[in-house]
């Protein structure tokens, strides 16, 4: 699968939803914890060496699971291989909760579910479809049936 690295690098320079220096350990066996600048931009999590401008890597946060790890860390895994985990170490429980919350909200699929949930609730209460005013009520991604898929 080809993609333009420069496009992703440009995305990594956009304003962060959350950023911090965290300990990070990759999923490979024998990986050790390294200090990384970790930056959340929309549904991508970028990680940088602390002295470099361009990111070492990025994780697309769709279909991922964020799990709390003792004592003050969390891990990210993806549904096609749940055993492969990216580990992150925070400096406090508070910071850990902040990151876990932000990461769980950071997927497009989550946003889609939110739109469908709100649309449904508003329609039940007012009898009107709130998406009509934006001309997006017909879009496939906002249909209730899309939730079950």
């Amino acid at each position: 699968m080809r993609y333009n690295e420069k496009e992703l690098q440009a995305l990594s320079r956009q304003p962060a939803d959350l950023a911090a220096e965290l300990g990070m350990r990759g999923p490979k066996k024998g990986s050790v914890v390294k200090r990384r600048l970790v930056k959340l931009v929309v549904n991508f999590l970028f990680y940088f060496r602390t002295d470099e401008a361009e990111p070492v890597g990025a994780l697309l946060l769709e279909h991922c699971r964020v799990t709390h790890e003792e004592p003050t860390g969390f891990s990210i895994s993806f549904i096609e291989d749940p055993e492969r985990k990216y580990h992150f170490e925070c400096c406090s429980e508070e910071q850990c909760q902040e990151w876990m919350g932000a990461l769980r909200r950071a997927s497009y699929e989550f946003m889609r579910r939110s739109v469908i949930f709100y649309r449904n609730e508003i329609q039940k209460m007012t009898g009107k479809d709130p998406l009509e005013q934006f001309g997006i009520s017909e879009e496939a991604r906002f249909q209730l049936s899309g939730l079950k898929a």
Partner: protein, 262 residues
């Protein structure tokens, strides 16, 4: 210097998962594996799938591995001249040094328009605006329902606020959290920029300039993403002007025009 890493297997898995696609179809593409660096000739026909802010291309409709990925953030989608005259082309342009725009072409004007529209609305920022707006609307609807219950015998219809276009929600921002209702977006950033706390509809009411500015934070196609909203906005303005003009015309020449009409 090593190449930047990406969780490609998860990305490919997501591309093929049964979560809904936002748009799909065949497009002609120039560039990509085995094609010259400048768009010429007939290009190559691929199957494209838009999922969220990700545009995947496949060898065919049945392709089991994506050939390419474009992340639709910070880009502009514009109509373009196709190297082949019978094609209806558009570009995805990134505001980054050394990044060549992606040239794509649909086989008809309707498909072209649908693609441009879908790609322009694909950014995460757009979704944030929609979620934010619906969050406000739901808050308003709940609030008005609560008011109705309080004073149901009075049946005060003025409490009813079906549209979040009004400003009630702003006063409720702090006092009434939706967390009790598991509001999934309670802490989300507002993509509306300087107009933080206002909904999409409200941004639109301010007119095109501020609308464009307010979307500056995630500038997926400032031109095209707002085309439909701009179109509506200008349309309303013209209707308004026309209404005023007709009214004035009627007032200044009372009852003279009508009988003259055939």
């Amino acid at each position: 210097m090593g190449a930047m890493k990406l969780n490609k297997r998860s990305v490919a898995h997501y591309a093929l998962s049964n979560s809904p696609a936002d748009h799909m179809g065949f497009l002609r593409t120039w560039g990509g594996p085995g094609t010259p660096s400048t768009p010429s000739g007939t290009g190559r026909r691929c199957w494209f799938v838009l999922k969220g802010n990700l545009l995947f291309s496949f060898e065919s409709r049945e392709g089991r591995a994506p050939l390419g990925l474009v992340v639709l953030e910070g880009c502009t989608v514009e109509l373009a001249e196709a190297p082949v005259p019978e094609e209806f082309a558009f570009t995805i342009r990134f505001d980054a040094p050394g990044v060549r725009p992606h040239l794509l072409a649909a086989d008809g004007p309707a498909a072209q328009e649908a693609w441009v529209k879908a790609l322009s609305r694909a950014s995460f920022g757009y979704m944030r605006l929609v979620v934010r707006e619906l969050e406000n609307q739901l808050r308003d609807a709940r609030q008005s329902l609560a008011l109705h219950r309080h004073s149901s015998w009075k049946a005060i219809t003025s409490h009813c606020r079906p549209q979040a276009v009004d400003h009630l929600s702003r006063g409720l921002e702090k006092g009434h959290s939706l967390s009790r209702d598991c509001s999934p977006m309670g802490l989300a950033e507002v993509a509306c920029g300087t107009t933080a706390g206002r909904g999409l509809a409200e941004c639109e009411l301010q007119g095109p300039t501020s609308l464009l500015l307010s979307r500056g934070q995630s500038p997926v196609s400032p031109e095209t993403s707002c085309f439909s909203t701009l179109h509506n906005w200008y349309g309303q303005e013209i209707l308004e002007l026309r209404r005023g003009w007709l009214q004035r015309a009627r007032e200044s020449q009372p009852k003279c025009e009508e009988p003259d009409r055939p």
